[in-house]
């Protein structure tokens, strides 16, 4: 699909963030979510690879290293479709602001790097409308790599792109893999109107740009909860589950 939700006449709007692991995008979307919630707006947050039903298959596939580029791609598409059909679309019909930590562009970039034909991947996801706004957090490759690799974490097999046999060293493999994903992202940037964010800036500087852009591009007053009392929502929305924790595993 080549239309956004607004172009399709949905009352809701979808805002996506994309970027490499370690680009700080999860922190930014969390802060954005808090800002919107505190204004009493109807907000929903959805994360890549989080559908309960598909999760057990995905984690089994990953743990046992059963996934090929094609099944890796298809199982993530299944996860996305589940969230898309059961949550995102109904909420957007109901006039919600839907925030997505990663959207179809993550699949376009990763699956292509894994060797799946780009037209095949795009064809599979063409049931999905485009986001109304897509923020792309672009940090220097070294900066994102260091954020992840600083604590010498145990990198997971697929996360490090080990299935691509780029290097026997997981850290080296991760570097090459992330570099290739970045290339793919940048190649899509114009086509999909990414709002390019300088992710090397301080968190606050980035967040203020994000908020300004959202306020300028959306009429936020149309997303108010009917008969809302913002204060009533405060406690339940300080849910810790969506708060990103800096990655020092």
């Amino acid at each position: 699909m080549t239309k956004t939700f607004s172009e399709l006449g949905f009352p809701g709007r979808l805002i996506a963030v994309e970027g490499l692991d370690g680009s700080g995008k999860s922190t930014q979307i969390y802060l954005l979510k808090r800002w919107l919630e505190l204004q009493g707006l109807k907000v929903f947050f959805s994360e890549w690879n989080s559908s309960d039903l598909v999760k057990s298959a995905t984690s089994k596939g990953k743990k046992r290293e059963l996934l090929s580029p094609s099944t890796f791609s298809l199982i993530h598409a299944t996860d996305f479709a589940d969230r898309y059909e059961r949550q995102l679309v109904p909420l957007l019909r109901a006039g919600y602001l839907v925030l997505c930590d990663r959207y179809i562009f993550t699949a376009f970039a990763r699956d292509t790097v894994r060797g799946c034909p780009p037209e095949w991947v795009r064809g599979i996801y063409n049931f999905a409308a485009l986001p109304d706004l897509t923020f792309f957090f672009k940090a220097d490759l070294e900066v994102s790599l260091n954020r992840i690799l600083e604590g010498r974490p145990q990198l997971k097999y697929f996360e490090a792109g080990m299935d691509l046999h780029l290097s026997n060293d997981p850290y080296e493999s991760f570097r090459i893999f992330q570099g290739r994903i970045l290339e793919q992202y940048l190649a899509m940037s114009t086509e999909f109107n990414f709002l390019l964010m300088d992710a090397n800036q301080p968190i606050e500087a980035q967040q203020s740009i994000v908020r300004e852009l959202i306020a300028a591009k959306l009429d936020l007053s149309t997303f108010t909860t009917e008969g809302s009392h913002a204060e009533l929502n405060l406690s339940e929305q300080t849910s810790r589950s969506t708060k990103p924790v800096p990655r020092t595993r």
């Binding site: 094609s70 479709a81 064809g123 063409n126």
Partner: protein
């Protein structure tokens, strides 16, 4: 041995074995990353048909016949992947997935089996008997209103089989065979999720009619052989053997 001799229609086993020649192979679409279809030596033979069409019985008999004729043979089917078959089963029982999701879940199962069962067997020169293939998956989705072009792209990963046989059985006979087996109709094989009728019998007849229409549409595109399935098991098996012999002798 004794048991085998009782199987009707089994001919004396000859010692000469037909060696299948390699033929050019291709995928329907983009194919799979890093797989060269021309390195696949075996033969892929698909049998399609609804539950109660006699598919499994025919495949069992073909398997015995092929092995008797000296061909290493394996059977594959839908929803048997290590990766997702369990979850797929769960999802189906709960009827909680929407259409695109279920469709992609099945495609994942298919891709997993294609890569881990079908292709390795073909590489090793086996004859692979597929108990249903992408056509059933596509027909089910088409009946549920999924886009044909989308499905074509999705299943562009599939290898073009050497032969596809569709056992065509009228819905009325399917009903009788399903009842004869276990006195019940399956929820999904009756298309109950489509809301065609609250009466399961009516829904089954309607749904199987819709499936047959989609198979005819697919037949026009993919050109598979239609086998009249209303006949006796022996008659059908004889026709299948004859056609498979041609496939094996083909250069």
């Amino acid at each position: 041995m004794e048991k085998r001799n009782k199987v009707p229609g089994l001919r004396p086993v000859s010692a000469s074995i037909v060696i299948p020649q390699r033929t050019a192979r291709r995928f329907y679409g983009h194919g799979l990353p890093k797989v060269d279809p021309n390195r696949l030596a075996g033969r892929l033979i698909v049998v399609e048909g609804a539950d109660g069409s006699g598919r499994s019985t025919q495949i069992e008999r073909l398997m015995r016949w092929l092995e008797g004729a000296g061909h290493a043979t394996v059977q594959v089917g839908l929803k048997r992947s290590t990766l997702v078959s369990e979850e797929l089963d769960k999802a189906q029982k709960g009827n909680i997935l929407s259409r695109t999701t279920l469709s992609l879940f099945y495609a994942t199962d298919f891709a997993d089996q294609l890569e881990n069962s079908i292709l390795p067997a073909l590489k090793a020169g086996f004859i692979v008997l597929a108990d249903r293939y992408i056509y059933t998956l596509m027909a089910r989705d088409l009946v549920r209103g999924m886009n044909a072009k989308w499905l074509e792209n999705l299943y562009g990963i599939a290898l073009v089989p050497d032969a596809v046989f569709y056992l065509k059985v009228s819905p009325e006979i399917l009903v009788q065979r399903n009842f004869a087996k276990d006195f019940s109709l399956d929820y999904w094989e009756s298309g109950m999720d489509l809301g065609l009728s609250r009466d399961m019998f009516d829904s089954f007849i309607k749904y199987q009619g819709l499936m047959a229409a989609q198979f005819e549409r697919l037949q026009a595109t993919y050109g598979f052989g239609i086998i009249g399935g209303d006949r006796s098991t022996d008659e059908i098996n004889a026709e299948l053997r004859q056609k498979i012999e041609l496939v094996l002798a083909k250069k």
